[in-house]
């Protein structure tokens, strides 16, 4: 009966991972130096791998002809339900790393809870992902410290990044109706309950590295309903081009 909710939820988690990973992969070969290039590509790969696991499970739940590839390559912008923060352009290096840090620190809390899901598949994917996230934040946290305590220029860019990103961060803590229903069954996690802890963690680190507390008073939302920023469509048009032009094409 509630299978539709479960499919929507697993697909939304997949969309979050795919869109974030795809965006990050745009920096492959464009990072400031070689080691960073490898790091960014590795993190992107982790997210695309996660997306693959979530889509496989969503496809299994859906049944029929649906596959992980059809979900990734043959759905339009309005059918994608990723949170908006995942689709924002990479911007400068400060923006990329601040976005990474905010997402990493969110997943550090979220995935630990999700690994306790009553759904065994969800719990298993989350348990693997949390270990990856623990490595991701070992990179993003020192980087924002370095930028915050670096030059006036790097600090300024970091501040501009925070100002834009905080409007999107609130969406991480909103519960759409289908997630609320799954929460009652112990399948998903109450995002709202994680918000204070997340703020405490982020603000405590920010104060340590000389940044002002994050302001979550404004919210830009819509991702879970398929209402996106102008940026997603452009990304999909590039990502989906080959499969749209040559359906079923294999490497």
């Amino acid at each position: 009966m509630n299978n539709q909710n479960l499919i929507r939820y697993v697909t939304a988690l997949a969309d979050d991972s795919l869109i974030f990973g795809q965006r990050l992969s745009e920096l492959c070969s464009n990072a400031p130096y070689l080691e960073e290039d490898l790091a960014i590509s590795n993190v992107a790969l982790d997210y695309i791998g996660r997306a693959s696991l979530w889509y496989q499970y969503a496809a299994k739940l859906t049944g029929g002809d649906c596959t992980e590839d059809s979900l990734a390559f043959f759905r339009d912008e309005r059918q994608y339900t990723n949170l908006l923060i995942s689709e924002l352009p990479n911007g400068d290096f400060a923006f990329t790393l601040m976005k990474q840090y905010l997402i990493d620190s969110f997943y550090q809390l979220y995935l630990v809870e999700l690994a306790k899901s009553s759904d065994q598949n969800i719990a298993a994917i989350a348990a693997k992902a949390i270990k990856e996230t623990n490595y991701h934040i070992k990179r993003s946290a020192p980087w924002i410290k370095q930028l915050a305590m670096g030059t006036d220029e790097s600090l300024n860019r970091l501040k501009l990044a925070i100002e834009e990103l905080c409007d999107y961060a609130n969406e991480l803590f909103l519960m759409p109706e289908f997630e609320l229903q799954l929460l009652a069954e112990g399948i998903t996690v109450d995002r709202t309950a994680l918000k204070q802890q997340w703020l405490d963690n982020v603000n405590s680190y920010f104060s340590e590295i000389g940044l002002e507390s994050i302001d979550l008073s404004r919210t830009i939302q819509g991702g879970r309903e398929g209402i996106h920023t102008e940026h997603l469509g452009h990304m999909l048009s590039e990502m989906q081009f080959m499969q749209r032009a040559y359906p079923g094409l294999e490497w």
Partner: protein, 170 residues
């Protein structure tokens, strides 16, 4: 007398399945299949090979993913099929990637550390006390948490000045 004190529970479970198997020859055959990105480290030693089931019409192999996005898993599947097809031409070889039991570095076999050392890769350490695989110095520092593959970090030895890969604890 059997000495078991150095075995992790994760490895012991895998070893138990191997020892209880009624087709030890298939496990032995697969000892020849290595991670494509770690030549010399077998899928068994790496902790990826989880179980083998011999059926009337097919052989089912369970493997686990290391990292979610590890692209080597496709090659691993193909290599397992190619290896077994020679000895079992009449059987379908089915390789399934399972989420549970999950892969972790504790599931690696004791010989894996030696095999990694031969590739100049530092073995995983629970406290990330990384020892240079070339000169055995403890005086090392991280260059990047992300190396040539997802499972490795890039380190440098402050004693012999060589850069090297560290197989991350996972």
């Amino acid at each position: 007398m059997t000495v078991i004190h150095s075995l992790t529970p994760e490895y012991a479970k895998r070893l138990g399945r191997r020892q209880a198997s009624n087709v030890p020859e298939i496990w032995d055959l697969l000892d020849g299949v290595c991670d494509p990105e770690l030549p010399g480290v077998s899928l068994w030693a790496l902790g990826v090979l989880q179980d083998i089931r011999y059926r009337d019409d097919c052989i089912e192999i369970d493997i686990t993913l290391t990292y979610s996005g590890c692209p080597a898993v496709i090659t691993m599947k193909d290599d397992i099929i190619a290896c077994l097809q020679q000895s079992y031409p009449d059987k379908a070889i089915k390789v399934e990637v399972v989420l549970s039991p999950a892969w972790c570095t504790d599931a690696m076999s004791p010989e894996a550390n030696q095999q990694l050392a031969e590739l100049n890769i530092a073995a995983p350490d629970a406290d990330d006390q990384v020892i240079c695989p070339i000169c055995s110095s403890h005086n090392t520092e991280v260059v990047s948490q992300f190396g040539s593959t997802s499972c490795k970090a890039l380190y440098r030895c402050l004693n012999c000045a060589e850069p090297f890969d560290y197989f991350k604890t996972f």
